[in-house]
Symmetry: C2
Subunit: 222 residues, 2 copies
Amino acid sequence: MAEEVRGRLIDAAGRAFAERGFEGASVRDICSDAGVNVAAINYHFGDKQSLYVACLEQAQCSESRQTLLAAAPSLPPEARLHGFIRGMLAAQGDPDRPRWHHALMLREMAHPTTAAAAVLQRYIRPLAETLREILEQISPGVSGMSHDGWPVGFSVVSQVLFYAVHRPVVRLLMGEAEHDALDVDFLADHITRFSLAALGRGPNIVGPSAAPSAGTRKTVPR
Amino acid sequence: MAEEVRGRLIDAAGRAFAERGFEGASVRDICSDAGVNVAAINYHFGDKQSLYVACLEQAQCSESRQTLLAAAPSLPPEARLHGFIRGMLAAQGDPDRPRWHHALMLREMAHPTTAAAAVLQRYIRPLAETLREILEQISPGVSGMSHDGWPVGFSVVSQVLFYAVHRPVVRLLMGEAEHDALDVDFLADHITRFSLAALGRGPNIVGPSAAPSAGTRKTVPR
DNA sequence: GATTGTTTAAAACAGTCGTTTGATTTTTCG
DNA sequence: CGAAAAATCAAACGACTGTTTTAAACAATC
């Protein structure tokens, strides 16, 4: 029973922190949402801050796994990039995992707290290294570019993160109906094609065929 | 004297809201920072919420001007894109304008409040329309693509917004020294080249020359 | 100089915040 | 079972929140 309360508390707090931020989420709301007494937070975690880092750790553990797995080294590099991008996009709305995991990490990335700088390092670094390796595989020499090729990697991931951070704006600009049509598969295909074209691989983004090249689409594991 | 208090209040509040969010910034901190009495907020603005929208309006007015101006219709389309991107980047760190203007708009875009949906519309829409026009000029047919070409525009602006939203992460990943080398001019050149390459114009991003093509660099007005 | 209306000041308002207390219930285990 | 430990509970703590009040200082007009 004790561990279950801990879990319910982390889940309720994670949702609250992701949605309203650390200051905006009150311990009373969190406890009421989790169906426990207000004193439970201090009993199980010590204080609100420690509960926050507990949420962050849980979000971190589950986050990067599937993205990295989707970019299996055995695949051709274009398919790896597609898997990487699709993995990041899918992590935003994975039904098997609480939605707040991704949103909370995003908040922390935009406005890092002292408690989480180290966690961020462990969470982001392996993803960045994997992407760098994939890009070097696609376009040998990109790692040797100015600033170690970081800007190229940023240009790729920025397109993915955009839809996570600015989805409200996208909805407002495109309208509800059009926005809902931007599902994970479409966006993964678009971002992959855009990035590959920028790297000189694959057709330009404006072409006769709006479908992705066959090799990068179907061979990606779900 | 009355108007000066209003101004000092908006400036102090804008900085506080941009840095710590609406909930995180207390009226006492704001007033102490502005050097006025706590009652001044309610006297001049009514309540904290109205002060917030006053900050948002001020940030909105000064924001989009220079970005749009930098993309003058008389220039060749590639230079217009470069100017648009450079304008957005420069707005992030323009010394002539309070730094909180851009940061506050970003916060509002990521987590919109009810009071600001309309403001967002007026602020973002003209920028989006201008970019769409530039892209159509560069690659005729892009507006007729799936979802009216929105994803292509998003792929461009996302690269710019990335450095505004996730700069702390960039600093952590690259290290302090390397990060500081990513100035406005370098990033504008990189993002423009990456995007043009994706659109099939200009050299690929990984090429013998890391410098931007001549036509797009020098002809951009500052 | 008195009398307006406008702006500032200190103090207090009710309410919420995160946290703690101390008693009570539940669980664990010899 | 019965004692020890763990967990939950309602209630209250002081500090802080946004807001209001009331009085004083200021400015401008007659």
